[in-house]
């Protein structure tokens, strides 16, 4: 056990092995599923069935190293980098517009750094967690006021807007915004304004969907009358396709429908590992955002529910660590990570099951994506570091 000397002097200190094992299990499972999902396409496209696996293995190894290092550093060490991290995140996002930016499948979201490419949005998530935790602690009781609330949420807004507008990545913007709101929610004592906020968001979403559907209907009528054929924008199309994917099976509803085919053909115990049909080129981005549907197809309802249960356990560990953290800063860091992972898992599964409109969100630890796994593991390192501050007799 690598407990630092300073701590050993005091008492037995806590290290959350449960969390570590859950994360390692998810990583291992993710790699197996990634290989199963991507090997066929990888062999055809790159002549190497382990193409994606190798890249992901490298990022994962790097991530584990980061996790170990971060877990050994007292989390208060990072306090001083909060503002710097925020600024760096903003700069990196802006850099995407420069020639350093890299376009993949029509979306300009990556930065090229030598042989590697990173997604600034992933860095922004971590930067946001750190920055808000520091900000809220600095504010102290100020967070209780509308002003403090506004300030905290307002701090998140620029990064969200940048991610949305510069990298055209609404889903990451929503995640960053969601992380901010959840952290403020935990920091502030009252419920009313959050309930109001939640209701407001729901109402706004419902209104937008309503308007888009109305528009589409009138356009369809206009088209039927020989009028102009116009589009509701690509997000609008996605919302219309969400409501009836089979009607738009050849374009906007295609990916969703293919995911549903995969999920639906899984049944109780699935077709067995490696026996998915949908991954053979039918389901686009199968190893990426849609990997959960392949898990459903290969491992069935049983496997899918097991994964959901693992994520609940993971969140439960975050809760235990946050509740037993020695100070609010540590707790808020853990809450931020909890929010990040919980939001991504929920949105990813919701997209895959066509519960919400299609938007690109990856499944933490399992989906293909180097930057994502690297920063997620760093965040886990942070949480482990917080867990070490807990004295054993505090737990329970």
């Amino acid at each position: 056990m690598s407990v630092r000397r300073k701590n050993r002097k005091r008492e037995e200190y806590f290290f959350d092995y449960t969390l570590l094992f859950i994360v390692l299990f998810l990583l291992g499972f993710g790699l197996v599923m990634l290989y199963s999902t991507s090997s066929y396409e990888a062999a055809l496209d790159y002549g190497d069935s382990a193409y994606y696996l190798k890249k992901q293995l490298l990022s994962t190894a790097l991530g584990i190293v980061c996790m170990i290092i971060v877990s050994r550093i007292n989390y208060h060490f990072w306090e001083r980098f909060a503002v710097l991290g925020y600024i760096v995140a903003v700069i990196l996002i802006l850099l995407v517009m420069t020639p350093l930016g890299k376009e993949v499948k029509g979306a300009r979201r990556w930065l090229r750094l030598g042989p590697l490419s990173i997604q600034p949005a992933e860095i922004a998530k971590l930067a946001m967690i750190l920055f808000l935790a520091v900000l809220v602690c600095k504010m102290g009781k100020g967070i209780r006021t509308w002003k403090g609330f506004g300030l905290a949420v307002g701090a998140a807004a620029p990064i969200c807007l940048l991610i949305w507008k510069v990298t055209n990545n609404l889903s990451s913007a929503i995640i960053v915004g969601g992380i901010a709101v959840l952290m403020v929610f935990v920091a502030a004592p009252d419920y009313k304004r959050f309930v109001l906020l939640a209701l407001g968001v729901c109402a706004a979403a419902a209104l937008i969907v309503f308007i888009i559907v109305k528009n589409a209907e009138s356009q369809a009528d206009a088209a039927a009358d020989g009028g102009i054929q116009s589009d509701a924008g690509f997000r609008g199309d996605r919302i219309i396709a969400w409501l009836d994917p089979e009607k738009y099976a050849s374009d906007e509803g295609f990916q969703t429908l293919q995911a549903l085919y995969a999920i639906g053909s899984g049944n109780l115990f699935g077709k067995g590992l490696g026996r998915s049909m949908q991954k053979l080129g039918f389901l686009p981005e199968a190893q990426n955002d849609m990997i959960f549907s392949i898990i459903c197809e290969e491992l069935g309802l049983f496997g899918a529910l097991s994964i959901i249960l693992l994520f609940i356990l993971l969140i439960w560990r975050f809760m235990v660590i946050a509740n037993n953290a020695t100070d609010l800063f540590g707790a808020l860091l853990v809450v931020g990570v909890l929010g990040h992972i919980a939001i991504q898992v929920i949105l990813n599964i919701a997209v895959v099951t066509n519960t919400i409109p299609n938007t690109g969100i990856s499944l933490p630890f399992i989906s293909y994506g180097g930057t994502s796994v690297l920063f997620l593991l760093s965040e886990i390192g942070l949480v482990l570091s917080v867990s070490k501050g807990i004295r054993l007799n505090d737990v329970g």
Binding site: C137, L260, N267, Q278, A304, I308, F311, T353
Partner: protein, 570 residues
């Protein structure tokens, strides 16, 4: 514990519970999708992954009354290349050029074309297919298939018909009995990836093909062959355009032979006989079955019908006497007899033996338009015979209201209207068989591959179109025609044959083109076999009695002993 309060902890628990609830909710959604909607999506997914490949069913054979197979299947191969599986394109190209005789450019183009599967050549013999398979080259596919094969190629080509690229009948019996012959194609379901590449490990699901039923027909291979030979001889000798012959059993309508010269090659039906540009029109012309698809003016053979009607109506008796001056005047027309000097005094039998036009005009006029027309209808001449071959032509006849004395006069000796040869043969059969209007046909029964009868075909018979007495009288008169009259050249010693000759000028009149024909049957007192030969546009002597009657004579000389022998063995 800087500023860390209990409410923070409570809120963390609330947060955890909210997330857990959301995840449990999604779990519920998964249960709904995978259990309740599972079947629906599984089916859609399978539809997406499965590709169907049909296995052609073997088409039923066509077998004659002696057991001779007239149409069968031969295994042929289709050679294709699968671009994504080719490993040695150079070798594949060289092999294709060597074994299939295609040009190097074609081979190169096909091999290098990026497609899921590219067909190189179909209808390749099984031997070649086996050789190509022996090369064991990756990406080369040899599919076996059935192709229709006609062992006797030209024999009865217009009767049997042939099949198209999908093994479907196009003309003749092949199309008429399509439903019996075709069978049911099998299906191979293969699983493919999104590019359409088959996935081997998934294996195949098969629905086995059901072979078609064999069709047993009344045609007699030996008679058909001999009749074809005779027709060829006369066609060459007389330099005729076409020669048709129909041999049938007048008792039940079974057709024993149907020859239509020139016949075409059943194994190569899309190549014109005389070369020339292959147009659909030219092909259709080549495939026409003159005996049933084309009408002609029957001429004097039709006097059989006029005589029957007159006898049946009682407007004439066999002993009535007539006088032929060589012509007859009807209204303002002078209708000539073929013997311009006239036959002089003759009774009705002699008039028939002489094929005397004025007598038959007289008899027709005695009947009158109404009665003549009603007998025409009663004998079944206004309807099609119902023969089991496609495209039978109808009778082209004057409308009753437009029929005056002149029209009636010309119809009486077989001119100014048109019928098909099969119509004539069927009507005469019905008259001489005792008055039963039979349906001419080939199809006898359909049997499955194990030899079990699937269906025995039955055909309508209309009884009593003429009285037995008239029928008997007609047999006697027609026997006299062969014995002592215009049909002498069909006489065979020791055999009582009935018959009637005909020579008709084709339209337009005065073109010098004639159709010579003869209709004969045996035995005259109870006919078992009836033959009609029609020679189109012979050169030189064109009289039916001179050139058509000997053809039937030769046929009967040969087949009568043969048919009798068959009867003995029964």
């Amino acid at each position: 514990m800087r500023g860390y309060k209990t409410y923070n902890r409570k809120k963390i628990v609330v947060l955890f519970l909210c997330c857990t609830m959301a995840l449990v909710g999604l779990g519920g959604r998964l249960i709904y999708l995978m259990i309740y909607q599972g079947e629906y999506y599984t089916r859609l997914a399978e539809d997406l992954h499965e590709r169907e490949r049909t296995i052609k069913a073997a088409r039923g054979k066509i077998i004659d009354s002696t057991g001779q197979v007239l149409a069968t299947n031969r295994t042929v191969c289709t050679i294709s290349v699968i671009h994504s599986q080719i490993e040695e394109p150079e070798k594949v190209m060289a092999m294709l050029v060597k074994e299939l005789g295609i040009s190097e450019e074609t081979a190169k183009k096909k091999v290098e074309k990026v497609s899921s599967i590219e067909k190189i050549k179909s209808n390749v013999s099984k031997e070649t297919g086996d050789i190509i398979r022996g090369y064991n080259l990756a990406g080369v596919k040899v599919d076996e298939d059935y192709k229709r094969f006609y062992p006797f190629d030209e024999l009865a080509s217009k009767v049997l018909g042939f099949t198209g690229s999908d093994n479907q009948g196009i003309i003749g019996l092949e199309v008429k009995y399509e439903d019996y012959l075709k069978g049911e194609d099998g299906i191979i379901y293969t699983i493919t990836d999104a590019r359409g590449v088959e996935i081997d490990k998934e294996g195949e699901n098969r629905k086995e093909p059901v072979p078609g039923n064999d069709l047993y027909i009344s045609m007699d291979f030996n008679i058909q062959s001999y009749a074809t030979q005779l027709c060829k001889q006369v066609m060459e000798a007389k330099e005729a355009d076409a020669v048709s012959m129909l041999v049938m059993n007048p008792q039940n309508g079974e057709i024993l032979a149907m020859v239509n010269l020139p016949e075409f090659h059943l194994n190569d039906p899309f190549t014109l006989l005389n070369g020339g540009e292959t147009t659909q029109d030219a092909l259709n012309q080549m495939w026409r079955n003159g005996v049933i698809n084309d009408t002609y003016e029957p001429g004097s053979t039709f006097k059989i019908i006029t005589a029957t009607a007159a006898l049946e109506a009682g407007v004439v008796t066999v002993n009535d006497t007539f006088s032929c001056p060589g012509f007859i005047i009807v209204e303002d027309r002078k209708i000539r007899c073929h013997k311009t000097t006239g036959h002089g005094g003759e009774n009705f039998i002699q008039a028939t033996m002489n094929s005397c036009n004025p007598v038959f005009v007289d008899v027709g006029l005695r009947l009158g338009v109404d009665r003549y027309y009603s007998y025409f209808r009663q004998f079944g001449l206004l309807e099609k015979t119902g023969v089991d071959l496609p495209g039978e032509a109808g009778t082209i006849m004057h409308k009753k209201e437009n029929m005056g004395q002149v029209e009636l006069a010309t119809v009486s000796f077989g001119q100014s209207f048109q019928i098909t040869p099969i119509q004539l043969a069927t009507t005469v059969s019905s008259i001489v068989n005792g008055g039963n209007r039979i349906t001419p046909h080939f199809g006898v029964e359909a049997k499955d591959t194990k030899g079990n009868t699937v269906e025995t075909f039955t055909y309508p018979v209309k009884k009593g179109i003429v009285s037995k007495e008239t029928s008997e009288t007609m047999r006697m008169i027609l026997e006299q025609v062969v014995e002592n009259g215009g049909g002498k050249k069909a006489q065979i010693e020791g055999f009582a044959i009935g018959g009637k000759t005909a020579t008709s000028q084709t339209l337009p009149r005065g073109s010098g083109k004639y159709i010579a024909s003869f209709l004969g049957f045996y035995p005259a007192d109870n006919p078992k076999v009836l033959a009609l030969v029609v020679i189109n546009h012979p050169k030189g002597i064109y009289y039916g009695g001179q050139i058509a009657a000997p053809v039937v004579k030769k046929l009967f000389e040969n087949i009568l002993p043969y048919l009798e022998k068959i009867d003995y063995t029964k």
